[in-house]
Every structure is written in structure tokens, then in C-alpha cells.
């Protein structure tokens, strides 16, 4: 009988897959100049210019500091000034490990700052020339009109002791000049507290937000098609959608989410937590920005199936290079969610969940 085992193992060994590195000359693929800018109405504009890298190369991304970047809005031309701290991502990003929350280091990407604050209706054109790069990199966009939106209410809904969640209802009026939107729900409380040797942030995290459209004419499959949960940090609390989902009219959305609080519940801090401030950020987007954001989210989050899924191409609208130049107009609404009881206490943290 042992012989049978040997035969089986030999057969398995014979059938086992084998790997072989493929020679691939990175010189076949030259790096592109990357230009990224997402101007928002009434905000100072900035542009990132850097090089892409070959995908088998793991070197750090470095911004190009000696490029010539100009912006024109139809009335004038503006020159960008390189600022190494122009694009800044810091403690907001991190990870939650076990019962504690750890924050990453600050990251500065660098970019070109402009003094222009674009307004809805502006048409913008960017041009960048980079020494040693034989193409001129250009891109155009506009600043769309402000979204027409209205918050209805934000209520706590509970089905039983363990299932409690918030429902935020808001209405969007479909307009011919605003076809693409993003909606983000964020906490309005982010406080930094420092003890002797530890940094703490007082935050409210929104666990996955589920959006739906309260309209029998909109198919649920259409919602799944259009909306993607994404927040740029930990949980899905942002969605993108287009007016393809419905044809005109006013449509009511519901966002369902839970709240997780991490704070020093120290009455001396003077904040009233019985009502948690919630921010609803709504942007109307240009088509190029909408497609870029959607495809980059899909590329990031839908690649887990590997062999069993199709790759996602991130859409670019930059000529002579890659990246995106897409405008947006933003409205922010502040509402409040009623605070619920305290559940547990662990190492100085109060862990609280919203509940009636």
C-alpha cells in the first residue's frame, strides 16, 4: 500500500505548478509625467507634478520641482510656484490595531500653488513642461455649478439591542448642468489630545455607510452599479453617482450607518456629546473627475479577486502625460445625531455606540 502513496506523491509533485521569472526590460516603458489637480470652487488651486515609475520599480515617488506649470482661466494666465508642503497627508491616515488606534506619519508630496480661487462656471487649462521630458503636458476642466441638495433629517433607528443605526435622509435635485456627484458623510469632531507619552485623537468613525435611493423608479441594480462606498480612510462613507441613475426630478437618498466613538469622555473638555455633529459633504463633479475617482476606487478595491476579475483602467484626461485635472463644486451641511449610552470602558477609552 505504501507504493500507492509514493505514486500519489510523485504524481502530485509532477503536477505541481512551477514558476519562472520573465525577463522584462523596463526600458521598453518610459515613465510618464503625472499631473494631478482637483480644483474646488472658492479654494486655492494646487497641482501635483511628478513622474510615474515602472511597476516593478519600488523607488519612492518624487515630485518634480523644476517644472514650469501655468494655469489659464480665459481671463488670465497664472504661474504655479513650487511648494514642498503643497500636498499634505498626515495623521488622518493610520490604522486600527486591536483596541488601540495608531496614526501614521505625515507625508508631504509637494506641488505647485496658485493664487487663483476658481468659481463655478470657470474653464481652466493647465500646462506643464518638464526639463528632459519631450512632451508638453496639458489638461482642461471646468468648475461645475453647485449641487442642489437638501438635508431632510437624521434619525436613530433601532431594531433590537444589537442593531442600531442612523438614517440620514437627503434630497438631490437633478440638473442638466450637474450630472455627477459625490456624497460623503463625515464626523465633525476630530480633536487632538496629548497625554504624557501617547497621542490620542478624539474621533467619531462611521462604520460602513449604505446608501439607497428612495425611488421605486430606480432599480436597486442601478444603485449597485453607480454607487461605490469609499472614504479615503477606513470605512466606506462616500459614494459617487451620476444622474444616469435617474432622469431629472428630485430624488431622496438615505444613508444608513453606525457610529463608533473614541474619546476621552472627560466632562471637563466642555463638549456636549449628547448630540454628535455629522457633516454631509456634497460635490458636483466634472465627468473627468467622476470617472477618475470611480475607476481609481474600483482599481483599488475590486482587485482582490486577482485571476478571477478583470483589471480596472484608471481614466486619465491629461494629454502628454497621465493623471487627472477635474473640477468640483462643494456644499457642506452640518446636522446632528443623538448620542446614545456608554457601553464599555477600556484603558482610558470609552467605547460607545449610538443607541436610543
Amino acid at each position: 500500500m505504501k507504493h500507492i502513496h509514493y505514486i500519489i506523491f510523485a504524481a502530485l509533485a509532477l503536477l505541481s505548478s512551477c514558476e519562472k521569472p520573465i525577463d522584462f526590460d523596463p526600458g521598453e516603458v518610459s515613465p510618464y509625467v503625472v499631473m494631478i489637480s482637483k480644483p474646488v470652487n472658492d479654494s486655492l488651486m494646487s497641482v501635483y507634478v511628478g513622474y510615474s515609475r515602472f511597476f516593478l520599480d519600488n523607488r519612492q515617488f518624487v515630485a518634480i520641482s523644476d517644472a514650469t506649470v501655468t494655469l489659464s482661466d480665459g481671463t488670465g494666465t497664472y504661474a504655479g510656484v513650487y511648494d514642498p508642503k503643497c500636498f499634505f497627508l498626515s495623521d488622518y491616515y493610520g490604522y486600527y490595531g486591536g483596541d488601540e488606534y495608531w496614526y501614521g506619519d505625515s507625508v508631504f508630496y509637494g506641488g505647485y500653488a496658485f493664487t487663483l480661487r476658481p468659481q463655478p462656471g470657470d474653464s481652466l487649462r493647465l500646462t506643464a513642461t518638464v526639463p528632459g521630458y519631450d512632451k508638453t503636458v496639458t489638461a482642461s476642466t471646468s468648475i461645475p455649478q453647485l449641487p442642489d441638495i437638501e438635508v431632510v433629517d437624521c434619525i436613530v433607528d433601532t431594531t433590537d439591542y444589537y442593531n442600531y443605526y442612523y438614517r440620514l435622509r437627503f434630497k438631490v435635485k437633478s440638473r442638466s448642468d450637474a450630472e455627477y456627484y459625490s456624497v460623503a458623510i463625515k464626523n465633525a469632531v476630530t480633536r487632538y489630545i496629548s497625554s504624557s507619552d501617547t497621542y490620542y485623537w478624539d474621533t467619531v468613525n462611521l462604520s460602513p455607510v449604505y446608501f439607497s435611493v428612495n425611488d421605486p423608479l430606480v432599480n436597486s441594480s442601478d444603485i449597485e452599479d453607480v454607487i461605490d462606498g469609499y472614504d479615503g480612510s477606513f470605512y466606506g462613507n462616500e459614494m459617487y453617482f451620476s444622474s444616469d441613475m435617474f432622469q431629472g426630478g428630485e430624488h431622496e437618498f438615505t444613508a444608513v450607518f453606525s457610529l463608533y466613538y473614541y474619546d476621552y469622555s472627560d466632562p471637563s473638555n466642555g463638549l456636549d456629546y449628547r448630540q454628535v455633529p455629522i457633516l454631509l459633504e456634497v460635490k458636483s463633479l466634472t465627468r473627468e473627475l467622476y470617472r477618475y475617482e470611480k475607476t481609481s476606487v474600483n482599481a483599488e478595491y475590486n482587485s482582490f479577486d486577482g485571476l478571477f476579475s478583470e483589471p480596472t483602467q484608471v481614466i486619465c484626461n491629461v494629454k502628454g502625460g497621465i493623471g487627472v485635472f477635474g473640477g468640483a463644486s462643494q456644499k457642506t451641511f452640518k446636522t446632528k445625531a443623538n448620542r446614545c449610552e456608554v457601553f464599555s470602558h477600556n484603558d482610558g477609552y470609552y467605547f460607545k455606540k449610538g443607541r436610543k
Binding site: 500500500m1 500507492i4 502513496h5 505514486i7 500519489i8 509532477l14 503536477l15 505548478s17 512551477c18 514558476e19 519562472k20 521569472p21 520573465i22 522584462f24 516603458v29 510618464y32 503625472v34 494631478i36 482637483k38 501635483y48 511628478g50 513622474y51 510615474s52 515609475r53 515602472f54 511597476f55 516593478l56 520599480d57 519600488n58 515617488f61 515630485a63 500636498f87 497627508l89 507625508v107 508630496y109 506641488g111 441594480s221 449597485e224 452599479d225 479615503g232 444616469d244 481609481s296 474600483n298 482599481a299 483599488e300 475590486n302 479577486d305 486577482g306 485571476l307 478571477f308 476579475s309 478583470e310 483589471p311 480596472t312 483602467q313 484608471v314 481614466i315 486619465c316 497621465i322 493623471g323
Partner: protein
Amino acid sequence: MIKTRKLILIVMLLLSVDAATAQNYTVRGTIRAASSGETLISATVYDMLSGKGALTNAEGRYSLTLPKGKVVLRVSYVGYKTVFDTIALDGNIELNVLMESNTELKVVTVRADRISSHKSSQMSAIDIPVDNIKAVPVLFGETDVLKALQLLPGVQSGTEGMSGIYVRGGGPDQNLFLLDGVPLYNVNHLGGFFSAFNADAIKNVTLYKGSFPAHFGGRLSSVLDITSNDGNDKKLHGNASVGVIAAKVNLEGPLWKDKTTFNVSYRRTYFDLLAQPLIMTIGAMEDGRLNAGYYFYDLNAKVTHRFSSRSRLIGSWYSGDDKIYARMRYDYSGYGGGTNEEKMKLGYNWGNLVGSLRWNYELNPKLFMNVTGAYTRYRNDISIGYEEYSYYYNDVDYYKAEMYYKSGIRDITGRIDFDYLPNPDHTVKFGGNVLHHIFQPDVTGNKMEEGNNSGGTVYDTVLGESKVHANELSAYIEDDWSITESLKINGGVNLTGFAVQGKFYPSLQPRLSGRLMINEDLSVKVGYSYMTQYMHQLSNSSISLPTDLWVPVTKRIEPMYAHQVAAGVFYNLRGLVDLSMEVYYKKMRNMIEYRDGASFFGASSGWEDKVFMGDGWSYGVELLAQRTIGDFTGWVGYTWSKTMRLFDRPGQEINNGEPFPAKYDRRHDISIMLSYKPNKEFDCSAVWVFSSGNTGTLPMQEYVDPTTGQTVSYIESRNNFRMPAYHRMDIGVNFHKEKKHGIRTWSLSVYNLYNRKNPFMVYEKNNLHSVINGTHYSSSLVQLSLFPIIPSVSYSFKF
């Protein structure tokens, strides 16, 4: 008055035609192999005096209407001795011919087109004798019809080792597989490494790549028409073989001599049986009892009853399943002297079942009828169960849970076909088809039961999409018309309609092909066909999964259709080598492709949201040189082709709406098949294939988005990367020896003789390195290969 005269004139004209044909009589009959009584398909019956001839149909029947007088008939079929018969034709007669096998010719290999290939009006068709299929050395020595087809020009394999075929730029779901005229849906075993066709049960295989005759329809790219053996009507014969992974047995013979025959074939893999000791050992190591394994089987059965020379009834059956099973049981001590029992089970079955009943009837010497009723089922069932019992004295607590997933498709078919041969210049086919499809995209059920001696509670939930019913109707008519000695055309039309979800999709599909003989050895052919397809297969583009699902067109997803034009030159070089060159262009509309980021898992739910509709086109040149007679036979095939896709419809853009190469777009495909048979005791064969690498998508560049910190992979275009070229050589040797009760054969073969590591897939691999100040990683591109050199041996005995 004028109208009356015209009417009289027409009647007189018709009468004169009738008078002219009154001197003609019809010779008809059946051509069979003398040794087995099997009917021979596409045998040639030719009157040497008038120069008129006919081919036998799928039932081995022919009909030849000739002028009264002396007729010298020549009946020929490759591999058989030509039969000559002189008759004085003074009335309609039936002439049945038994043909002796011609061992001198030692015919092996594929014949491009039919006999007299350069003379037939049909082009882009390949007729493959089963002996040829068996001669091709293959993976694990397991004879495979589809892998033999992959060696032909215009037919590409998919991924290494897979049975899927890609014909002239079409997808794997664009091939119609007909087993005795009945469609078969999933033709793969073991994820596509083996096809569902057992060569021992097959009589004839014909592949159409283009210029489709009007009696075929329903798929865009190819029709594979497989006819199974009727069975020997003289005496009981059999064949049994044992190979590396499977054993096969085939029995055939008369149930009622010269009236009723049967043919039964069964194939089963036995890897699960060999692995049982190992499985049981693993179970014992876990303190339980384990029974698990995987196998597949095919059962083909056919019974043919001949009521008379004019009437036959044929019942055929095919069932083939892949099965994965696992059962585990634990017994252990419980609280206070009680005992506990846990049982787990997994069952995963997928496969086809086809049953058909066909009646052939000769209505008159010039008109044959075929009536077919058939049932087809493809299923894909998964069930997982768990049971737990706790015994304590006379008390018992239990908990049971079961989950199942079912999907599949069922077809009920009614079909009627007529062959009408009014004279040697016309072969008319007409008929119709009614097909009722029942699609079951997926159903999931959950059942939970818990309780004790005094009672229990049951929770039962069923979720999933309900059945989708669809009806497909078709009617066709075609005529193979010899206009002159040198000019012949085949023209026809196929009218189809598909009704689903309250929507009806009609389609009128013209077909036309023609042949012009330049001289006795050289002919030129052209062909055009328009095809419509009403269903799609949701499948992974890399491997064939049992969850690949057939779905119908819907209100949103429209039928696919294709226009194909082809032209070719065919030359017979001194009767030794057939040379052919064909060029084709195919335009396909409404193809579906997974959208960016779509996952193949769970594709059946909301599948319409995961796909986009677009177009495709393919063009190429196919060259074939083959030798079919002599000790040394074989062929060399070469294909140059280009296959593109374009998805630019608003909201359904792939690749920014720009054209991109299809996954299996390969510029060059070469196949060489050589066979040598010097005597009865020994034969050998070798195959060498080369093809350009498959395409794939790689993000060649990366960049950072400083607004999110996200590293973005930049894909310039879909399928922008080409894998290394694929090539390998296989060899096979057969040793035959005549024994007292039959012939035994030892077959040795080696797959991938020079151990070429061909790419199955390519991926990025990160390698960690330790350095003085920590670790860093580097990335490299790595290909995964599946099959190194694989020798195999099999033993068979034929009696």
C-alpha cells in the same frame, strides 16, 4: 383570353419538364462498413458515365437520379476499397453497398473538408475520422476530440492544457456542440482539462468554421457536429482500456441481428479510488472518518432499430458528471458520560445529460425525413451539510444545517429535417426546430433544524433568481446546386426567432457559398454567412469553471450576430498532398465582455450589470498542407490572424472606447502533426505546436495621487501585454499485437517532450530582502506554468 393562354403555356411547360424527367430513375440506398454495419457519412456515389454524383447524408443514405440506361457507379470512402457496380437503370432501385476496409491505404490524419474537398461547395469545414483523433498524442494519454481540433488552422486553444476552442476570433461560448444533433452546453471535465467526448463512442466529427450551411444556427463562430457509433450489427465487439487517470470500456453489437444494434461506452477517472488510503489516513489523523474525492465519468449509449431499409429509430443517451464529494464524521465523549456525534458533508456535482429519439424515414426515393425529440440538461449543484447530535442517556439534542446552490439550463427540442434530392444537380435541405429553454441562473437554499426528543424547529429559506423560460424557433431551406460541371453553389436562409421576457427577437440569416473548378485539381471557393446567437456564457476568460453559466439575451442584452466572408484556393497535388489557403473576415456585434473590475465569482446574480456590450472583428489567413495516403501521413497548418474588440457605446466603454486585442488574439499559430505506420504492429506520431503568446493586462506604470495617498496603477490599454510564445512537442507510440481473442495495444506518449515551461498566467511577485538597515522588497514578473514533461502509458484490448 390572354391570361388563359399564358396559363395553358405554363402548364404545358411544366408537363414538358415532367416528360423530360420521366426518363430518369432514382438509385438510392445506404452505404455501410462491411465489418461493422456502421453507416458511412459523406461517402461518394458517382456515376462514371454521366459524371453525376452524390454524398451520403448523416444517416449514410444517398439518392441519385439518373437517365434511364447503363450506369457505372463508383462508391468510395477514405479508408475503404472503392466499389464499382454496373447496372441497367430501367426503374427506381435500391442499392445498398457494404464497403471493405482498405488496409493498404493506411489512411490516418485529418482530411480538410470532405472527400473531394476541393470539389465540394462547402468550405471552412473539417471532417475528422475518429482514428485520426486517437492518433494525436495528448495530455495523460487521454484521447480528446477538442484538443485534436486545436491543432487545425483557424482553431485556437485557450489556456495551456484546456479543451476550450476559439474559432476565427470567436469566444468559447460561440461554438455549437451537437451530439447526434442535440446541443450540449458544458463540454469540459476537470475545469476544462478534458473534454466530455469519449472518442470510443464517436463515429464522425465535423467542424464548421465558416460558410455555415443554412441548417445550422444558434452560434456565431463554429459548429461541431458529432455523430456517435450506431453499433456493430454482426456480432458483439468491445474495447477496454486503462490509462493513467481513467479507464474506459466500450461494447457494441446486435440486439436483434440486422435489425437492432447497441453501443455503450463508459469512462471514469479513478484518481479518487487510488487516493482513498491517503484520504482515510488524513481522516484518522484528525480523529475522525473521512471519505473524499473527485472523479468524472461519461456514459454514452445508443440503440438503433431498423424497421426496414426505409425506416430507422435511434435512441441515444449521454450523461457525464464531475463529482466532488467529502464526508467527515467525528465521535467523541460528551458531558457526564454522554456521547457526541458530528457529521459534515460536501457534494459538488456538475454535468450534462442528453437524451434523444430520432426517426429516419424515406418518404420516397428522393425525400428523406428526420424527426427528432430531445432533452438536454446542464446542472451545477453544490450542497454543504452539518449535523451535530448529543446523546445523554435517553435524551438527544440535535442541530442540522444544510446549504445548497443550484443552477443550470434545460432544453426541450423538437426538430424536423428533410433531404430532398430531385436530381443529381440539387440537394435540398429544409426543416424547422422548436426549442424551449429553461434557464435557472441560481438558487440558494438554507435549511436549519434544531431540537431534542420532545420536538424541534425548522427554518427553511430559498433565495435566488427564478427560472427564465425562453422559446427559440427556426426554419431553414438550402440547396446545394451544381449549376455547371465547374460551378456549384450552396445557398440558403435560416429564419429564427427568440422569445424571452415578453420580447421577441427575429433574425433572417442568409448563407451562400460557391465553388469554381479551375481544373480537375484546382478550385476556388467563396462563402458568406450571417449568424445570430441568443445566449451568452458567463465564463472566466482564463479557465473553465463549472459555475460558468449560460444566460439568455434579455431586454437589455441583445442577441449577438456576425457576418463572415471567406475565400479559399484548394489544390490537390498529384493525389498525394492537399493544399489549401483560406482568408476570412468576421465582424461580430453585441458581444459581451466583463466590465473593468468585474469579478467572475457570483457572476450569475445581477450579471447584466457586470458586462458591457460591444463589437469585435477578426481576420486571418489559414494554410494547410496535408498528406492522407501512405505510411507517412500528417499535416502542417499555419494561421495568421488578428482579433480585436471595440466597446465604445456610451456608458459601456472599455479601454476608453478604443479598440483593443482580444485575450486570445494571437498572430501566429503553427501545428505540425506527423504519423508513421509502417506495419500492423507499430505506429507512432508526433505533434509540434507553436503560437504567439496570449495577451494580458499589466499596469506598466504606477503613480501616487497626493490627494488620497493612493498608489494608482496605470493601465494604458486592456490586453497591453503579450505573454511569451507557447510551443511544445508531444510524441506517441503504439504497439499492437494480435492475440487469440483480439488485439491488445500498449500506448506510450510523452506530453511536452522537451519540458518547455509555457505560460499559464503571469503575475507580479514581491520578494523581500534582508539588508543591513532593515528589509526592502523588489518586484519581478513571474509566469506560472502548469504542465512540465508528462509521460503516460495506457493499455487497451479490442475484441
